[in-house]
Symmetry: C2
Subunit: 373 residues, 2 copies
DNA sequence: CGACACATTGGAAACGTATCCATTCGGATC
DNA sequence: GATCCGAATGGATACGTTTCCAATGTGTCG
């Protein structure tokens, strides 16, 4: 690189009208718009050669390689992904759609995707749908225009059209955490919601509970359908008839969750345990119980489906069914990138785990009185 | 659109070797690789006209516009952002760098950025640095290659070079939440850490506390430097001499945080209150206190700088200094997109808020005994 | 010594778009 | 009726890259 500039660089446009004194000493120029042509000119070779050197393909002599690399470094050249992608028809981008980036479950999931994407040399476009199908469709369209190589989504129900369009356009799609009603065939990675609920119910029954409530989301968003079904079948298998008054569904807002939980406790003072689907409903259950001065677990046992980092900070520490959010993200990313072909096989199901802490106890002999007023 | 296909579309490549029977009825074709040229051919106009219609610029007759739009819809045409960006030299992409996407503060921040980006018609590339300068530099480089229009970052200390390189390359940068040591001049949006800590300390002193500990991160990551300074100066202004033994710094891991908190409680049983910087250290303080059977707030008052959704689920509900994570993201995004020019002005500082809950109480007359063993 | 294989290299053509510029055309003004 | 103006339109070019293909040079084998 000694005497390099004088030898090869053609200052066709880096001299920006008159030497501004002093910056000649600055070897690293890095002006905007340094293209492969500039590097080629600087190294005294053709653009094809520069491309070969930088992408490591083809054969180049050692001397040439060095010259090119030196020139690229000196000019601060950064290849434009735009040009490359346009030519190769691959961007290395993966689109990620979540309902809410601030939700702890989603956040952990995102982190998993990012981690795997990094090892696979991909970049991630993130957007949040707010569980609004229209917004989701908008995001899908935007991703399609950006020509992402694939899309990972925790989808909203009901817009099968957009997904099919994406797939037909050649963009592979992987669902995570939940699958829209009509699209069971598509590649997906899910948590074993059913198994988790089953374990939780069996655990509670083992503690002697018989009047167990189930508080979960409405519709089939977020696996609520699976959880509800598993809740019912587990009771039935053990000879209990599900008490419909103990099966409550709440809309996804925080207020609705609290209202549902409080309403449940007040209308059914005889329940001794509750299984809540999702951290939001879990929070609501804990707050409502506290508000009604029900002691956990003395008066009511609580299991939440969805681990959250603060479950052990709660008082008492919450017994939860932990869903592998991070692993979900990792597997979804792997599935997207490694899937040998569009195989319509069964979804990948990741195990959940019952984390026993302190929010469940045996049924107490003493009957607690009904609601005070 | 009636009779449209027969009239104008030239089936030069959509006929894919022999009619596969039946799909001719499917009006929406949407094959991969539908370009502006295909739309032009289908509408019987030139590509320039199609471009004008779709981008809304220039003048086009109503009839032509209709024909073009119909053709685009029929072919399921999605303009390629690659081509457009290459030509216009703008991608509409903004790069977002956070230390950890799963962290609740970061997650809320991300949500803020996404929200504003959506209204500004931008897409967001997200990546996590893990607070590793090398990884961060890698991400910056990747974003630069993707030709993002701007970068928003919660940066790691010590890689001024990468940031300067980015700025010199024409990519504007906005820091959020914290600013690297040597780069105070750059555009940034910060939380008023100092004001928050001051308020917290004054609140505690108003409750009669005098031996107040400060537990925070090491180095200057995440505003710890500002918090520490504010803690000191607030004490001094009120005539107290900061007790160095009560100023503890912990490395960012969860284990280190717990160790630091436990060590503090054990070595200084005389402290009556503690201010923790960041939710992680707040958690650690609560857990350590609980482990050592210190009652909150009877034995020790706790203020955490950093609101977290579960602060009110904790027992007792935590009094915190809430940092406006979401607003931080929104403002950072606005600053990035609306900044009229590279102005080196003062950073934007967003107010924090003391949320009084139940983890602080007056100093009790009874002196609690030293640690039991 | 001729022919052939092989390594090295550069020119040129795409990829899909926006936009400059020239061209055509209808109508209005003088 | 000639001229001019503005609207409408299409061809061509450039954005930055990869890659095919041809051309050159170098070495080996018959």
């Amino acid at each position: 690189m000694q005497g390099f500039v004088g030898d090869h660089v053609k200052w066709k446009r880096f001299h920006l009208g008159g030497c501004v004194g002093g910056w000649a000493a600055e070897q690293e120029v890095a002006l905007a718009g340094v293209t492969i042509k500039d590097v080629a000119a600087a190294a005294g070779v053709g653009v094809a050669t520069v491309s070969r050197v930088l992408s490591g393909t083809g054969s180049v002599s050692a001397a040439t390689r060095d010259r090119v690399q030196a020139a690229a470094a000196a000019l601060g050249y950064r290849p434009s992904a735009l040009g490359r992608s346009l030519k190769t028809q691959r961007t290395g981008g993966i689109g990620l759609i979540v309902p809410d980036a601030a939700d702890p479950f989603c956040a952990e999931f995102i982190a998993g995707v990012l981690e795997t994407a990094r090892t696979e040399n991909c970049h991630v476009l993130l957007d949040a749908s707010g569980d609004d199908p229209a917004v989701e469709a908008e995001i899908v369209d935007r991703f399609a225009q950006q020509r992402v190589d694939g899309v990972i989504a925790m989808p909203v129900l009901g817009d099968a059209g957009a997904w099919n369009g994406l797939a037909r356009l050649g963009v592979s799609v992987v669902f995570a955490g939940r699958v829209p009603e009509g699209l069971s065939g598509m590649p997906a990675v899910l948590a074993d919601e059913a198994g988790g609920v089953r374990t939780a119910v069996e655990y509670l029954m083992g503690l002697g509970h018989r009047r167990i409530a189930h508080l979960d989301g409405d519709a089939s968003l977020g696996g609520a359908r699976e959880r509800r079904a598993a809740f019912r079948s587990t009771l039935e298998e053990r000879g209990l008839v599900p008490d419909e008054g103990l099966l409550v569904r709440a809309r996804p807002s925080a207020d609705a969750a609290y209202a549902a939980a409080a309403g449940l406790f007040q209308s059914r003072p005889d329940l001794t345990a509750i299984v809540a689907g999702g951290h939001r409903l879990g929070e609501a259950a804990v707050l409502a119980a506290r508000e009604l001065t029900l002691r956990i677990p003395a008066d009511v046992s609580v299991v939440v489906v969805d681990d959250v980092p603060w479950a052990e900070l709660c008082d008492p520490p919450l017994t939860v069914v932990s869903r592998p959010a991070r692993a979900l993200g990792e597997r979804a990313c792997e599935l997207l990138l490694r899937a040998p072909a569009r195989r319509p096989g069964r979804p990948v199901v990741l195990p959940t785990e019952l984390m026993v802490r302190a929010s469940c106890g045996p049924v107490t002999a003493s009957f607690r009185p009904g609601r005070s007023r």
